[in-house]
Symmetry: C2
């Protein structure tokens, strides 16, 4: 490993104590799991690798991954839980039971005030094809690739209104110049 | 690939149109990049793989990754931008210039009302060692592994107060049973 990171104020070299740490998932709360799962499976090709139910506390967790042909996902549920928590870059959707039936219920997207969380981002091989795919599926756009100051960057909304950035890596070489 | 995903209401099989889609990053806004970078590099061993500055709009983006020995990260900045947007499971920190100097400024963590985003999660090889590491670095705990209903799950706060879940995969085999 030649490149070990950029030097900016605050940055320290990784310590041995952090060896093996892995950024496993990002958790978003969703109002209606049927709608959220339809969106992420249909539009972004994600699979549910594990659902965990917590009856006493009234919620369920859905762990979503982009499965590849060579992913050796265990069939056994307990083994699959361990596999799930060993991965990198998953999406966890939390469903607090009953919210889907509340007409006026909605989660906060983090971009309206008060701000905090901004978005998740998918990298795609062909941004034009992805935009056509979103249009064919009536996905709501925040911005298209030809709009705004940041060309070649698309933002769409998921079923709960969370923002999803969509980019094609090799169209961003000059970004930030 | 034998296991292709659990079947739940709403779930569809991945379409060919989503081939090559990858969950690239999660974006969180941070008040003071020096404090945020100190936290994520020191406590979780993350490296800044690319900073992008947008002077006209007054913000900077920091892309953080857990670099492994065999990661072939390009030294060239433009190539490294393309590499960055090709990865899976990065963390993007957005700094809107000037917030670090505002005494009463703070971002919203998504767990207080209004709720939405919940947390990011790191998987670690040894949860007990990780807790000791957090204590040695005065990290703020939301809950320890022996507290609350969900044993073996730790939550700490980052420099902006966002929640970070920390788990050891092989201690969670019975989760949700």
């Amino acid at each position: 490993m030649s490149f070990t990171g950029e030097h900016h104020p605050g940055v320290q070299a990784p310590s041995a104590e952090t060896r093996g740490f892995r950024l496993n998932h990002t958790m978003l709360r969703v109002k209606d799991p049927e709608k959220a799962l339809a969106f992420y499976s249909r539009i972004f090709g994600m699979s549910v690798v594990r659902r965990l139910d917590f009856e006493e506390m009234g919620f369920s967790l859905y762990f979503l991954a982009r499965l590849e042909q060579d992913d050796a996902v265990p069939e056994d549920a307990a083994q699959r839980t361990v596999w799930t928590f060993s991965q990198q870059g998953l999406l966890e959707l939390t469903h607090n039971w009953g919210t889907e039936a509340q007409a006026d219920f909605a989660y906060h997207d983090g971009n309206a005030e008060p701000q905090g969380f901004g978005h998740i981002c998918f990298s795609v091989p062909d941004l034009d094809a992805a935009e056509a795919w979103f249009d064919a599926n009536d996905v709501t756009f925040v911005k298209r690739s030809d709009q705004g100051k940041m060309k070649d960057v698309v933002f769409v909304k998921d079923a709960d209104g969370y923002w999803i950035e969509v980019v094609q890596a090799d169209r961003l070489a000059a970004m930030g110049d």
